[in-house]
């Protein structure tokens, strides 16, 4: 197991710098924000987080190909990867944690560990290198986590119509695809909303498996308890044809 990190001054010393949780009866959930290196995961998390983004250093033993050159250091290949995360408190006693996870297959065990119990995954993609997101999409699917794809619209990246992007990414018809700007809060929120709607669609209506209510799939699952009817945001590049 490896230890800590470089950077910024240490120690929690000043408690004012620590964003404590306001009270103890909240419901905490997490989403993973996944994607290849440099696609904007940390930017998105920073944009939405109410606390300065934090990170943990996670040690892992390489399971995949030895990508790092360990000249002279045969036999041992433990690497450390930083996992960024942020926090967003929502009305209704809900606190959402967003974890940025590395997109390479060699980090699969770490990815699984972080994704366990997550509501869903937001996979980020860049139109200049869409294929770089394939690996993480495979991992998300293997994990059985519902996901949405958010194309982070870099200013200098080529713009393609959503159906072209969907085809390139080989997305299932029900998987939402949104265009977003990771630097803009509302845009990031729209991406999370699209993902959350998608997750909700995939959950059985009525009670949970444990509750044993067979309740036929409710056609209007999108906003059962929600006071806000219809996402109603013209700015959202419509997620996906969810409805038949």
């Amino acid at each position: 197991m490896d230890s800590a990190l470089s950077g910024s001054p240490a120690a929690p010393g000043g408690p004012d710098r620590v964003g404590y949780l306001p009270d103890r009866d909240q419901t905490l959930m997490k989403l993973v924000v996944a994607g290849p290196f440099g696609v904007g995961k940390t930017t998105l998390i920073r944009t939405l987080s109410e606390i300065p983004t934090l990170h943990t250093e996670e040690a892992m033993t390489e399971t995949g190909a030895p990508v790092d050159d360990v000249a002279g250091l045969t036999g041992k290949s433990t690497t450390t990867v930083a996992v960024d995360f942020g926090r967003l408190t929502l009305p209704g006693q809900v606190v959402l944690y967003m974890f940025g996870t590395p997109g390479q297959r060699r980090f699969f065990p770490l990815w699984q560990d972080i994704a366990r119990g997550a509501v869903g995954a937001l996979v980020l993609a860049d139109t200049r290198r869409l294929a770089d997101s394939f690996e993480i999409m495979d991992m998300v699917e293997e994990q059985g986590l519902p996901y949405a794809v958010a194309v982070n619209c870099f200013p200098d990246a080529p713009v393609h119509p959503p159906d072209v992007l969907r085809a390139h990414l080989d997305l299932h018809a029900s998987t939402p695809l949104v265009l977003c700007d990771a630097r803009e809060r509302d845009s990031g929120l729209d991406a999370l909303i699209a993902l959350t709607e998608h997750v909700l669609h995939g959950l059985p209506a009525g009670t949970d498996p444990a509750g044993s209510d067979p309740a036929g799939t409710d056609p209007d699952a999108s906003d059962p308890a929600g006071p806000d009817p219809a996402g109603s945001d013209p700015a959202v590049p419509d997620p996906a044809p969810e409805q038949p």
């Binding site: 197991m1 490896d2 230890s3 800590a4 990190l5 470089s6 001054p9 240490a10 120690a11 929690p12 408690p15 620590v18 964003g19 404590y20 949780l21 009270d23 103890r24 009866d25 419901t27 905490l28 959930m29 934090l54 990170h55 943990t56 250093e57 040690a59 995360f85 967003l88 929502l90 009305p91 209704g92 006693q93 809900v94 959402l96 944690y97 974890f99 972080i114 119990g117 509501v119 929120l189 729209d190 909303i193 959350t196 709607e197 909700l200 959950l203 059985p204 209506a205 009525g206 009670t207 949970d208 444990a210 509750g211 906003d223 059962p224 308890a225 929600g226 806000d228 996402g231 945001d233």
Partner: protein, 120 residues
């Protein structure tokens, strides 16, 4: 050794007193930790400064395991060890991310969606 080292002098596995530990199973990245008001007993102080650092961090308020780990610059796994010790000693409280009363996945995700839409 409070001199703000750039890199930890004490390896993380020693921060836990060099032990592996049973009883950490219920802990998760999002387990909420808060101080109970009971000071850590001397036995824990003897194990090293790390228990005290965690307890100090949590004295003013609650944090999740992963946040505590980030602030203390410890791996999540080591933080869980420390927290488990302190919970056992009655110095910390730990609670699950989702309070028991809220059963269904669906109701939880609905609350998330409502919350996100409200912010928008």
């Amino acid at each position: 050794m409070t001199a703000v080292p750039r890199r930890r002098m004490v390896p993380a596995y020693l921060a836990t007193g060099g032990r592996s530990r049973p009883g950490t199973a219920g802990f998760d990245r999002l387990t909420v930790l808060s101080a109970s008001g009971t000071e850590p007993p001397p036995e824990l102080a003897e194990l090293g400064a790390e228990h005290g650092r965690l307890w100090d961090l949590l004295r003013p308020g609650a944090l999740t395991v992963v946040e505590a780990a980030a602030h203390l610059r410890l791996p999540v796994s080591a933080t869980v060890f420390l927290a488990a010790d302190l919970v056992e000693a009655g110095c910390l409280r730990a609670r699950a991310p989702i309070p028991r009363a809220q059963q269904t996945d669906r109701s939880i995700v609905e609350r998330l969606l409502v919350g996100l839409r409200t912010l928008r």
